[in-house]
């Protein structure tokens, strides 16, 4: 279970925090970074970065990840000193400050933080929906932080699968058509699209609801369609933004079970949430506060959604009056 430690760092750098992320000092392994930092020498970034210089070295965090997750191979996501500053009128609002993180294949990373912590900004950057003010973002060995908006669209299409809080399915289209949508933008021919969409929907257990419109599906089923849509171009990483935010607790467990199962089968998942209970389903937990990555740890007491789900199921069967003879 994640502890309340996430709340400790209040303002500025906090040397006491155990999982303090990497900082700005020049690393021999990342010479490009210094170049990337140059174009945005705002006061805010200076303020944010200078005190950090005294902090722990960046490689420590990398090392921690490698040890705790036990993953081999090249990182799927490699974020180096990422910063994002918004300009509101004449003031610069730093939404994300100097975040360095690596995510390896097969990981289930939960990005945790209260609202305003920068986790949504981080998610948008990881999802290639936005570009950082400074820093580098390597996705599958490609430097995406410097790409044009069309190139980013292509990256989102091929390498990233999105699952949103509000499902975000096209209400006019059937489940099948919704799942086909990313393949349209990938140029997959119509027949192949349908074959793949059917497979993806079967994978999430909706093989028998191909032609239902979103309005004819339950929330959990809609989120499964969204997951199938996210998978259909074979993404390198699945990005889930509060995927259970619109679901009741039982359905949340169900969807988390789907995500955990997909992860067990090898899918890299990054899940963004503010909910500590949801965060406990992940394998690794990174906490954001005030735009900084303040904690990076292995989830020790991990929740297993399928077990919980089976328990709920057993309870329901033990009290048949409550569910009123519902059939499977």
């Amino acid at each position: 279970m994640a502890t309340e430690d996430a709340k400790t760092p209040q303002r500025g750098p906090s040397p006491m925090s155990p999982g303090i992320p990497p900082t700005i000092d020049e690393q021999p392994t990342q010479p490009e970074w210094a170049v990337g930092q140059k174009p945005v020498p705002t006061d805010i970034t200076k303020q944010a970065t200078v005190p950090h210089a005294t902090n722990t070295v960046a490689s420590q965090a990398d090392e921690t990840i490698t040890i705790t997750s036990g993953q081999q191979g090249k990182p799927v996501i490699d974020v180096r000193h990422l910063a994002k500053t918004y300009v509101l009128g004449k003031t610069l609002v730093p939404a994300l400050r100097d975040v360095t993180l690596k995510v390896y294949p097969g990981e289930f990373v939960v990005v945790l933080g209260p609202s305003g912590s920068g986790k949504s900004t981080f998610m948008n950057l990881i999802g290639c929906l936005d570009r950082p003010t400074s820093g580098e973002y390597w996705l599958m060995g490609r430097l995406v932080s410097k790409m044009s908006s069309d190139e980013l669209a292509n990256i989102r299409n091929r390498l990233i699968g999105f699952v949103f809080q509000g499902f975000n399915l096209l209400s006019r289209a059937s489940a099948l058509k919704n799942v086909e949508l990313p393949m349209i933008y990938a140029g997959v021919p119509a027949r192949e699209r349908e074959i793949r969409a059917r497979k993806a929907l079967s994978l999430v257990g909706l093989g028998n609801r191909l032609h239902h419109k979103p309005s004819e599906l339950s929330g959990g089923q809609q989120q499964r369609v969204a997951i199938a849509r996210a998978l259909v171009n074979g993404p390198a990483v699945l990005l889930a933004d509060e995927p259970t935010g619109n679901l009741d607790s039982r359905t949340s467990v169900e969807i988390m079970a789907v995500l955990q199962e997909l992860n067990e089968q090898g899918l890299t998942i990054v899940l963004v949430t503010h909910d500590l209970n949801v965060a406990a389903y992940g394998k690794r937990q990174v906490s954001f506060f005030d735009g900084r990555l303040v904690r990076d740890e292995v989830v020790t007491n991990r929740r297993i959604a399928l077990d919980e789900w089976n328990k709920l199921h057993a309870q329901a069967e033990a009290q048949p009056a409550q569910i009123g003879g519902q059939q499977p």
Binding site: N157, L231, G234, H313, A316
Partner: protein
């Protein structure tokens, strides 16, 4: 059915297959997190998981995003979106539909009118008409054509002038015509043989009267189609060689003319040799007028000038004195008719253009509403890989489909209205390639002009903001 808070998929297995097997334990490689799951048998270690093999399969992309495949997909989604809002689409297309219908109806009408005018131009544009002058009685004009001054010799002399292709003296009279029990009142034209070519007459039966007949004034007649039908349809007799009465004189029918059509009364005519008309019908040595055909409309004014000089000499008119004849050309009249038709066309097209602009603004308005309404959808599409170009094209194609549907229906209605009106006005119904192609060009241009701004606006949306908006 009792109400339940349970989602209906409660029992659906993750794999979509029945759960099976005893509880198993999956351990993570480092042992840091132990996952105990009762159904974790779903993963069997040696083979790649179904997901991994599926993802591998889906990562294989041998296809390229072609512009055509995107066009097809965009077209599909555009039609889908338009049908989803069918009432609104219909009303929007109506604006274009009315505009295009107006353009087509206007075009058909003016084209019909100008076709009619050019028919007249073909017969009048190269002609010069010489009429008798105005009689003066004690300084008071007696009106045009009151003098009898033109003779057959004048006509022949005019025929000798350069650039004169054909000429014919004319005597117009009307008379009662009788064959058997049938009688008919018609116009009798005393002419020479050249009138057949001047007025483009085709002989249906028999022949035009000969030069000999013309010279000697033989009482022979060539019947217009209307006269022929009036006199001979009842008996069904072969008209050639039959004797008919014109007034009190007997004429032999030598030819029947093919109808010239056009709904005009020009087929209600009998042509007789000019001398026969002079001697037997009007008892005169003069002719009513001389019609001259010039080789080229450009020479009309020159020929008219030469005719004036020639007749002044022949009629011994002193310079400065009033001519006892009039030379008329149609150049000026035709110019005016052409100008009027052009002004009419501009007017109608202008009105239609205003109507199309209003329709186009309607398209723009609806597309802007549509973009605002579907910001959320645009956000999703961008998140899953649509480029800005894809979004722009999707909305452009939507506008295009809307306009073209309006354009095609408008073309149909416009042609129908044009057909009815030209029929009522007795004008030729002309459909040119232009009038069919125009609605497509016009409605496509309107779609692009008025659809581009909303489409670009859609494509410039920030995907992050767009996803956040509620549906």
């Amino acid at each position: 059915m009792s109400r339940s808070t349970q989602p209906p998929v409660r029992r659906v297995n993750l794999q979509g297959t029945p759960r099976q097997g005893p509880p198993a334990t999956v351990q993570q490689a480092n042992g840091a997190a132990r996952i105990q799951s009762s159904t974790a048998t779903l993963t069997s270690p040696p083979q790649p998981s179904p997901l991994e093999s599926l993802l591998q399969e889906m990562r294989q992309h041998t296809w390229q995003r072609g512009p055509l495949s995107m066009l097809g997909a965009n077209f599909g989604s555009a039609v889908e979106a338009l049908i989803a809002n069918s009432m609104r689409s219909l009303l929007t297309a109506l604006g274009i539909f009315i505009g295009v219908a107006a353009v087509i109806a206007a075009l058909t009408l003016t084209q019909g009118t100008s076709a009619y005018v050019s028919q007249q131009v073909a017969s009048l544009g190269d002609s010069v008409i010489v009429g008798p002058g105005t009689a003066q009685s004690n300084g008071v004009s007696q009106g045009s054509g009151t003098l009898s001054t033109l003779t057959l010799q004048d006509a022949e002399a005019i025929g000798q002038l350069p650039h004169v292709k054909a000429e014919s003296p004319f005597i117009d009279t009307s008379a009662q015509v009788v064959y058997g029990s049938q009688n008919w009142n018609t116009t009798i034209e005393g002419v020479n043989t050249q009138v057949q070519s001047m007025q483009n007459w085709t002989v249906a039966q028999g022949s035009w009267f000969s030069a000999n007949d013309a010279q000697f004034g033989t009482p022979v007649a060539v019947l217009g189609a209307t006269v022929y039908h009036s006199l001979f349809d009842a008996s069904g007799a072969n008209p050639i060689g039959k004797q008919i009465l014109i007034g009190s004189e007997t004429f032999r029918v030598v030819g029947v003319l093919a109808p010239q059509g056009g709904g005009f009364t020009q087929d209600n005519v009998i042509f007789v040799p000019i001398r026969a008309a002079q001697i037997r019908l009007n008892n005169t040595n003069y002719v009513d007028q001389i019609q001259v055909q010039v080789d080229d409309p450009a020479n009309v004014n020159q020929v008219a000038q030469e005719i004036t000089v020639l007749l002044q000499q022949r009629h011994h008119i002193a310079s400065g004195a009033t001519n006892d004849f009039q030379v008329t050309t149609f150049t000026f009249i035709l110019q005016r008719i052409g100008q009027t038709t052009a002004i009419l066309t501009y007017l109608l097209v202008g009105i239609a253009a205003i109507s199309l602009t209003v329709g186009g603004i309607g398209i723009m308005n609806i597309m802007l509403v549509s973009v605002t309404e579907r910001t959320w959808e645009i956000g999703i599409r961008m998140a899953i890989g649509a480029t800005r170009g894809d979004i722009r094209n999707q909305f452009l194609i939507e506008a295009l489909v809307l306009c073209l549907v309006g354009g095609v229906i408008g073309l149909g209605l416009g042609l129908l209205v044009g057909m009815i009106v030209t029929h009522l006005a007795n004008l030729p119904f002309v459909v040119t390639a232009t009038s069919v192609a125009l609605p497509f060009v016009v409605s496509a241009s309107i779609a692009v002009i008025f659809g581009l701004y909303p489409a670009i606006r859609a494509s410039r949306l920030d995907p992050i903001e767009a996803i956040r908006t509620e549906e």
